[in-house]
């Protein structure tokens, strides 16, 4: 079964890697560091909520969340197996990792609708 899945997982992983690379650093920089430190002012809730309003933005956000989480899930799966020598538990590890990613994406969709 996994032979069939691997190429798809890898595509999701790679896509997620690109999206995470392009978007995440600036987002943590703004919301996680500069605004909490007071270097920049927090935008108003209304402004941000307004930015989230258009349908395409919401769809894109769900996609971004899903891809980034898939990226993380894929790497965590492989690295944990390599670091800890857990290759024989690949199936449960994979289920947990990718399941987590799917769950995250579902949460995002639920929040945005």
């Amino acid at each position: 079964m996994r032979r069939v899945l691997e190429p798809y997982l890898w595509l999701l992983f790679s896509g997620g890697g690109v999206v995470a690379a392009l978007l995440l650093p600036v987002l943590v920089l703004l919301f996680g560091v500069l605004m909490p430190l007071g270097v920049l002012d927090w935008p108003s809730a209304a402004h941000l909520a307004g930015a989230l309003e258009p349908l395409p933005v919401r769809v894109a956000l769900v996609a971004v969340v899903a891809l980034c989480l898939f990226h993380a899930a894929h790497r965590i799966r492989h690295t944990s197996e390599e670091l800890l020598g857990l290759a024989r538990f690949d199936l449960p590890i994979a289920v947990v990792c990718y399941g987590g990613a799917l769950g995250g994406a579902a949460v995002a969709a639920w929040l945005l609708w």
Binding site: R2, R3, P7, Y8, W10, E82, A87
Partner: protein, 241 residues
């Protein structure tokens, strides 16, 4: 008087040693001696029982790979002077069963190599032996780099995935499969063997294979390129070559 340098050489004599032990030898430190020259000096003058493989001593036969101070190296192309005052620690290639001393078992690789069909596959069409298949220099360039592999196994030894999981098809075998895939005369894409959990999908892109390769084959690149090929082929089933 010539200076000397100490070699610390891993010895494993089956039946005698339960696991490798180190033996120390002093050899002359000559400016143009490779590590291999140090080892042949030991064998010729100090201790005839030391076993290791070598042949061409010009970096092309691929038999003299060993672990030198922790790194996989071709010993005929690694100079003693690189190691200052020494000592130089010489061990068999990591990741392979040790037959004796510095000699490792590479049968596993040969089986893997055969499995990727490393020969030109022509779907029925064959020209008579009076004419060659045309191939432009650019078409040659498309695979040339991957045809440079000397099967020295340094990349396998450097790859943590292979060392942890010997079922992984591994860098050189995949690079050689790509050497044929990208050859304009070849008509196969070896998807059945390469797009496997233990084949390209087993590689997590550590990239050490490429760092270790003495012939600049860049197996890491070969593998990542095939991942893209295989992924596209899976998503777009009509995109077979």
């Amino acid at each position: 008087m010539t200076e000397s340098i100490r070699l610390e050489v891993a010895r494993y004599r089956p039946g005698q040693d339960a696991e490798p032990v180190f033996a120390s030898y002093e050899v002359p430190l000559m400016p143009d001696w490779a590590v291999l020259d140090g080892l042949t000096y030991v064998k010729d003058r100090l201790d005839g029982t030391l076993s290791f493989r070598w042949s061409c001593r010009m970096g092309i036969c691929g038999s003299c790979g060993m672990t030198v101070n922790g790194e996989p190296r071709l010993t005929c192309g690694t100079f003693l002077t690189e190691y200052g005052d020494g000592p130089v620690r010489i061990e068999p290639l990591k990741g392979f069963p040790v037959i004796r001393d510095l000699v490792v078992d590479i049968e596993d690789f040969l089986a893997k190599l055969s499995s990727v069909r490393p020969w030109l596959v022509r779907g029925g069409e064959e020209l008579p032996l009076t004419a060659e298949y045309a191939q432009t220099p650019a078409q040659l360039d498309a695979y040339k780099q991957y045809s440079m592999c000397i099967n020295c196994m340094l990349c396998y030894s450097a790859c943590p995935v292979y060392v942890l999981d010997p079922d992984f098809l591994g860098p050189a075998a995949i690079a050689l499969a790509q050497r044929y895939n990208l050859d304009s005369r070849d008509m196969d894409d070896r998807f059945d063997v390469l797009s496997q959990e233990d084949a390209v999908w087993g590689c997590t892109f550590v990239g050490e294979c490429t760092n270790a390769c003495p012939k600049h084959v860049d197996p890491a690149e070969a593998i990542q390129r095939y991942k893209l090929t295989a992924a596209l082929r899976s998503v777009l089933p009509w995109s077979r070559r």
